[in-house]
Structure formats: structure tokens, C-alpha cells
């Protein structure tokens, strides 16, 4: 875990390119996940998110949302989609369409943000 943090600090500049960042991000899910399971347990996922996205307000909000609701694990699909969500959907959710194919968890997250704002 410490190694990863160090690595992140050093190579933050290297991963500015969005394509490589996406690859790295998706890779870290497989890296973090124990071999036999299909999903990643919530605490580990949150830890990894914290490391990968240093000081990102939206991610922090996401983490606080996750900690409030049930302690389900994170599927690979949800992990992957989260990055797309960060990249495509605006902060005020003005271009968010709940009838699109976003996972239900993200729909709940958007509702959560709208209520708390």
C-alpha cells in the first residue's frame, strides 16, 4: 500500500495521459482484488480510490456516500464505470440521464448528492 502511494506521487506526471490513466485505473482493480472472488470488498476499494485520486472532491463525496449505505462490495463493472462517470458527467449533474445505462449505485449516488446539496 505504501509502495503504491510512493509510486503515485512519483509518477503522477506520467499518468496525465487519459488513456494510460484509464488502463492504470482498471488494472488496479484487478491488482487489488483477491484471486478467487469476483468483487472487491468495500474498505479496500475505498482505500485504493483514496490513493489513486489524491485530493479529488467528487471522489471524496463518492466515498462518503459509499460509507453511508450498505456495505456491499464493488463489482468490476461499477469500478470501471465510475471513471467514465467522473470523466463524462458534470459536477452539477446537468448532463446526467437516469434512464441511461448507469449502474444503479451511481443513480443512488446522484440522488444522494442532489439531496445533500
Amino acid at each position: 500500500m505504501d509502495k503504491l502511494t510512493k509510486f503515485m506521487k512519483n509518477s503522477a506526471s506520467q499518468i496525465k495521459d487519459p488513456e494510460s490513466f484509464k488502463e492504470f485505473y482498471n488494472f488496479s482493480f484487478d491488482y487489488a482484488k483477491p484471486l478467487r472472488t469476483t468483487g472487491l470488498d468495500l474498505p479496500t476499494a475505498i482505500a485504493y480510490w483514496k490513493i489513486i485520486f489524491v485530493k479529488n472532491q467528487r471522489v471524496d463525496k463518492w466515498i462518503s456516500f459509499l460509507e453511508k449505505e450498505e456495505k456491499r462490495g464493488v463489482t468490476k463493472d461499477e469500478w470501471r464505470i465510475f471513471l467514465d462517470f467522473l470523466n463524462t458527467v458534470k459536477e452539477d449533474f446537468s448532463n446526467y440521464d437516469p434512464e441511461d445505462a448507469w449502474p444503479v449505485r451511481i443513480d443512488d449516488f446522484v440522488d444522494f448528492c442532489k439531496e445533500s446539496c
Binding site: T75, D77, I81, V104
Partner: protein, 711 residues
């Protein structure tokens, strides 16, 4: 040879011909001039000079005459005839030139008449100034014809224009068709605006106009006519139909309220002409229907709350009758409006599947006093067809069926089979397979018992009746086994042996939650009087009561350990024998609380007495708690089943389409399942995610909304 001189003379001659003026030079002379020119190899020059003369004549003389004429179209035809006639004369004049010079160079030069025609086409017919003039002329003609309602002139002119193009419709379309269609559209629009204030008047007037226009213009070129018809329908009907549906004065609600069947029929005939796919907003009609039948709907709601299913079904049938009459009267068409209204009415009726299942249960039970059960079932099927959540009905129906069959409460197997066949007609085999299998199990069990008794007639101490149920068909949940009293166990084992002699590879498990027993009970009263009764009890109650042959007192905990009956069921059985009516209290309980506790002690109530010889000990009906939990159990099963059905639907659709975007997948799944129930899009979404997790589907790399099927 002086070309200039020769040509000059020829030019004068040709010009005279073109202008229809008196010809001065003789034919012979002209012939010689042309001959000379050709001889001296000046043929080509002659050709281009000739072309120039034609051109200038057309541009300077003919074109203005057409444009300035008041009746330009006819002038054009006239000019064309004149010009073509002239061409012949010119050709004759230059016949040597044509025969010798042009003929030999046919690949590069046109014959004189063809040249003239070509030039006429380019300089006159296709000329933009002439075209503009034509457009103006036609435009005025259309307007004046419209006013006078005399279409003869237009008829003739449109034919001319069509023929002018000589196979090419462009002139006709530019100068006539486009303008005509535009002006007609405006005309229809203004007419419809004029009458749109009152719906009844509107439909009548519009229908008139429609018929008239079609009659007037049947002379038109067919392509134009069909385009005109489309415009008619669009401007008069399609644009306005929604307003008719919504408007207050003379709109459709007015027509319905005042029984204006004639206007409604006209309206329907207008709607019949609209192309498919128009999305009607029928909310105003539905609102009217609600008001019209508000009495019925109100009554229905009241009954729904009171849980009286017979009244509910009968009221529902009454309402359905009324709405059927209404629809037959006003919306009996096959058009989209009628279909939509019918759908909405169905939705309005919306029977409750659970209550309906209670009605069916009641009708098929023994004491229902129904004279004609077939008629009852027939009417009930009308309501079944209206159910939106057929899967809920299915679950409850099966549960009730099982109870009827196992407790001998059904009126007859014939009636059950009849109802099942009706369901099969409506929903197919999958719905009724298990129900039929349940009936079959009972029939087979009855035969089995008969042969068992025949075989072991004398050996039995206990008169045993067994119903063998195939587990997968019956809606019976987990079986809690318990310890049976010895005599019962022995009898059961005997039957087991008999059964396994007939069938191998099966296991039999006794289900103590069902079934009942007749026990001979002797109560020892004071003064050494014995009172014997025959108690009809459930299997569980039997297990408990038989215990008291071994000992006088048992605590609850002891009973629990020694019978191994499930705690909840044990409590219920004991309550029914100790805390119910006096006529049911065969046991005494020591204990203060309202509910049974571990330390409570039970013993036989020797003071028990009854006028009857045979006493039936009921299980406490427990309307509040137990039924609710059973109900909840059924509903949670229904939800689970729905999840599976949704997943199966998703996989089926994705397998055939291979890739599909999110919204379309939701639509397709809803369409596939709507005969059984209406799936919630959120639930479908969750199932999609589950399937992605289990790698049946995957998202597209670039488009998050696109799913791929993983084969």
C-alpha cells in the same frame, strides 16, 4: 466564292421563314447558295451561323412574346408550333447542306430540325425567365380557379406542362405542381382554422371538404393527386385531431356526453385515414370515462378495502359490462384512437390479483352454492384477461389449489380441470402445467391407496390414507420433519415398503404440516366416569396429544425436544388446544402470559366435554399474524421469480440481437413480459448489472449505453 454574300442572302431567307414573312428569294437560288458554300468547304461556318440565327430569333423574338403575353402557356405552345413548322421549311431550303454536309458528320452535328428543337428547349422551355413567367401565370390561374371553382383551365394547362417536359417532369413540377400543392395546403389550413372553434361542426365541414377536393381533382396526374391527398389528410386531419380530442366546445367529450354518434362516426372515419403511429393523448377521454363511471369506481374501492371478494368481483363485472357497452357504442373501431381508449379502460379496471384469487378459491370450494360453476368461471375469465399482474394470481391460485386438494375442500375435480383448461387457453401450458400435475398426483394417490388397502386389508391397525405429492409441482415450502408417535410411524413405514415395491429411485418424506388424524380420546372424569370422544386433529396436534399417553405433564420445552416439532408450529398447535374456545380446550396449560413460554406445563383437560361425539379441533385461524407472514412469503417468492423471469428475458433478447442499447433493451424486455406483469425499469437495470457481473453480458468499450451478448 464569297461566303459572306452567300450567307447574307441565305440569312435573309431563313429569317423571313422564321418570322413568317413573305419569302422573296426562290428556292432554286437558295439551293445554289448552299451548294456553293458546301462545295468550298465552308459547311461548318454555315452550321454555326445557322445556329446563331436560330438562337437570336428565339431569344429576341420568341421569348419576349411569350413572356409578355397574358396567356403565356398557350402562347408558348403556339410559338413552338410555328417554330417547328419554320424548321421544316428551313431544312427544305438547306436540303443540300443537310444531305451532304451534316449527314456525313452526324457525330458532331445535329440535323436541322433536331438542332432547332434542341435550341427551343434550351432557350425557351428551360429558360429561367420563361419559367418564372409560367410560375406566375399558373399561380394566378390556381387562385382564380379556386375562387370560381372551375378547374377546366387548370386541367388543360397542367396537361400541357406535363407534356412539354416530354418525359421529364421537372417543368411540370416546378411551374405547376409545387405551387399548386403549396397553395392548396394554405387553403386547407385556413379552412380548418375557420371551423376549429367547434368540434362537431369541424368534423362535418372537414369531411365535406375532403370529399369535394377528392372529387374535383381526380383529373390530376396520379402522382400529383396522391401528393395532394397526403396534404389534405395532414392539413385537415392530422394537425387538428388532438385539438378535437381536447377541446371543450363540441370536442370529443361533448360528443360522448351528448351521444352525438353521427359526429363520432365521422370522426372515426377521419381518423381511419391518418397514417399509423400517431400518438393520441387520450387523457381527456379517460377523465370523462372516470367521471361517467365514478359511482362504480368508488364502490369498487370501498369493497376492495373491506376484502369482500365476492362483491368485488361482481362489482367489477358490472363495471366491465358498462364499459363494454360504452366502448361498443363509441369506440368500436379498429383505428388507433379506439385501441388506445380500450387499453386505457382495461387499465382503469385493473383487478386486484390477490382478491381475484380468493374469489376463484371460494368458487371452487365445496360449499359455494354455485349452480352453474361453468358460467361463473366463464365470467371470471373476462376478469382474468384484465389482470396486469398475472404472475401474482398464479402464485396465489396454486397455493389455494394445493390447500383445496389436500384438505379435501374442492367441489369437484371436474370443475378444477375446467378452470385449468380455461387458463391454458388464455396463457398456454407453462401457466397450467404444475396445476395439472397436482391434480394428477391426487388421482394417482387415490388409486395407490385403494390398491394398498386391498393388499393389506387385514393387517392394518390404523386406517391410513396417504397422498403422495411430487415435490417439484407443489407450492409447499420447506418441510419441517418431526418425530411421529410410534403407531403412526409403523403404519407409515408399511406404506413406504409398499410404495417402494412399486417405484424405485424415489424418497418419501412425510410432511407433518398437512394432513389430519382421528384420535380416540378418553377423558377420566370424577366418579370414575369415562367419556370417549373422537377428536379430529391435525398431524402436529396428533403428535402432541399422543405424548400424553406416556406421561401426564409436559413442559413446553420438553414437548419441543421430544417431538422435534418446529417451535412456531408447536406454539400454534398448543394454542389451538389450550387457549381457544371452551369446546376446543382438550389440554390445560399452566402459565400466566398471553403467549406460551418455555416453562409452561401442559396436561390433558379431563373436564373436557362436548355434546358431539366427534369433535374437530381447529387450528387457530390467526388472521393477523400468520396469514400476513404467509402472504409476505408469497410476495417475496413472486419477486424472486420475477427477477429470474426478467433475467431470462434479457438473455433471450440479447442472444437474438447480439448487441442492443440500454433503452431498447428495457423496451424489449417490458414488451416480452407484459402479458404476465409490468416490470419496473430500475429492476431490469439491476438484473442487467447482475448479468454483467456473471459475464452473460458486457458493456461496449466506447459506448456505455451499448451491451454485447457474450456467447
Amino acid at each position: 466564292m464569297d461566303y459572306g454574300n452567300n450567307w447574307r442572302l441565305l440569312k435573309i431567307q431563313i429569317t423571313n421563314i422564321l418570322n413568317n414573312e413573305y419569302i422573296h428569294t426562290s428556292f432554286e437560288t437558295c439551293y445554289q447558295h448552299a451548294y456553293a458554300i458546301v462545295l468550298h468547304k465552308q459547311g461548318e461556318k454555315l452550321y454555326f451561323d445557322l445556329e446563331e440565327v436560330f438562337k437570336r430569333h428565339l431569344i429576341e423574338k420568341v421569348r419576349p412574346s411569350i413572356i409578355n403575353a397574358s396567356d403565356s402557356l398557350n402562347k408558348l405552345i403556339e410559338a413552338r408550333k410555328e417554330f417547328y413548322d419554320s424548321l421544316r421549311l428551313v431544312r427544305d431550303t438547306l436540303c443540300y447542306f443537310e444531305r451532304i454536309f451534316i449527314n456525313q458528320r452526324r457525330r458532331h452535328f445535329l440535323h436541322i430540325i433536331n438542332l432547332g428543337q434542341y435550341l427551343f428547349n434550351t432557350e425557351i422551355i428551360l429558360n429561367s425567365n420563361v419559367c418564372d413567367r409560367m410560375k406566375m401565370v399558373m399561380s394566378e390561374m390556381i387562385e382564380s380557379s379556386r375562387k370560381s371553382e372551375n378547374w377546366e383551365e387548370l386541367k388543360a394547362s397542367s396537361k400541357i406542362l406535363l407534356e412539354l417536359g416530354d418525359g421529364n417532369r421537372k417543368i411540370y413540377e416546378e411551374c405547376f405542381e409545387k405551387i399548386f400543392l403549396e397553395k392548396s395546403a394554405e387553403f386547407y389550413k385556413s379552412k380548418s382554422q375557420k371551423y376549429l372553434k367547434n368540434g362537431c361542426e369541424f368534423v362535418k365541414k372537414i369531411s365535406e371538404i375532403l370529399n369535394m377536393e377528392e372529387k374535383f381533382f381526380h383529373f390530376l396526374d396520379p402522382k400529383t393527386l396522391s401528393k395532394l391527398k397526403n396534404i389534405l389528410i395532414h392539413e385537415l386531419i392530422t394537425s387538428n385531431i388532438q385539438s378535437i380530442l381536447n377541446m371543450e366546445h363540441g370536442g370529443i367529450v361533448y360528443m360522448l356526453e351528448n351521444n352525438c354518434t353521427k359526429e363520432l362516426n365521422i370522426l372515426h372515419s377521419l381518423i381511419d385515414r391518418i397514417p399509423n403511429g400517431l400518438n393520441f393523448d387520450v387523457s381527456s377521454i379517460v377523465k370523462y370515462i372516470r367521471v361517467r363511471y365514478s359511482k362504480f369506481l368508488h364502490k369498487l374501492n370501498e369493497i376492495l378495502v373491506s376484502n369482500n371478494f365476492i362483491d368485488y368481483v361482481e362489482s367489477l363485472l358490472d363495471l366491465k359490462n358498462e364499459t363494454d357497452i360504452f366502448i361498443k357504442k363509441f369506440f368500436n373501431n379498429k383505428n388507433q384512437l379506439s385501441v388506445k381508449v380500450q387499453q386505457n379502460v382495461c387499465h382503469l379496471l385493473k383487478p386486484d390479483p390477490q382478491i381475484f384469487s380468493l374469489y376463484i378459491d371460494h368458487s371452487l370450494k365445496k360449499n359455494s352454492h354455485e349452480n352453474d360453476i361453468f358460467e361463473v368461471i366463464g365470467k371470471a375469465m373476462d376478469i382474468f384477461k384484465l389482470l396486469a399482474e398475472k404472475d401474482v394470481f398464479e402464485k396465489f391460485y396454486k397455493k389455494h389449489l394445493a390447500k383445496r386438494l389436500l384438505f379435501g375442500k374442492t367441489s369437484s375435480y371436474e370443475n378444477e380441470k375446467h378452470f385449468i383448461s380455461k387458463l391454458k387457453d388464455e396463457c398456454g401450458i407453462s401457466f397450467t402445467q404444475k396445476a395439472e400435475a397436482m391434480l394428477k398426483d391426487i388421482e394417482i394417490s387415490n388409486d395407490l391407496i385403494i390398491s394398498y388397502k386391498n393388499k393389506n386389508a387385514d393387517k392394518n391397525e390404523i386406517d391410513l390414507n396417504v397422498q403422495v405429492l411430487t415435490k417439484s409441482y407443489w407450492p409447499i415450502s420447506d418441510i419441517y420433519s418431526c418425530i411421529l408417535p410410534t403407531s403412526a410411524e409403523v403404519a407409515f413405514n408399511k406404506f413406504k415398503d409398499f410404495y417402494f415395491s412399486k417405484h424405485s429411485g424415489r424418497t418419501l418424506t412425510i410432511n407433518p404440516n398437512f394432513g389430519f388424524a382421528d384420535l380416540k380420546a378418553t377423558f377420566y372424569k370424577e366418579n370414575n366416569i369415562e367419556e370417549s370422544k373422537i377428536l379430529t386433529v391435525t398431524t402436529l396436534q396428533m403428535c402432541i396429544l399422543m405424548k400424553f399417553n406416556e406421561s401426564e405433564f409436559f413442559t413446553f420445552e420438553e414437548l419441543l425436544n421430544q417431538t422435534k416439532i418446529n417451535e412456531k408450529d408447536l406454539k400454534r398447535a398448543l394454542e389451538s388446544m389450550t387457549m381457544g374456545k371452551e369446546s376446543q380446550k382438550v389440554l390445560i396449560r399452566t402459565g400466566n402470559e398471553n403467549h406460551i413460554e418455555n416453562a409452561d406445563i401442559f396436561s390433558v383437560n379431563d373436564n373436557f366435554t362436548s355434546k358431539l361425539n366427534r369433535v374437530k379441533i381447529q387450528m387457530i385461524p390467526a388472521k393477523n399474524k400468520k396469514d400476513k407472514s404467509e402472504e409476505n412469503e408469497i410476495f417475496s417468492k413472486i419477486n424472486d421469480d420475477r427477477k429470474h423471469e426478467i433475467e431470462a428475458a434479457i438473455i433471450r433478447i440479447m442472444k437474438s440481437r447480439q448487441k442492443l442499447i440500454h433503452n431498447e433493451l428495457i423496451t424489449e424486455v417490458t414488451k416480452l413480459l407484459q402479458r404476465r406483469f409490468l416490470p419496473d425499469p430500475m429492476v431490469i437495470k439491476k438484473r442487467i448489472e447482475a448479468l454483467i457481473e456473471r459475464e452473460y453480458l458486457k458493456r461496449d468499450e466506447n459506448n456505455l449505453n451499448l451491451y454485447h451478448y457474450i456467447s
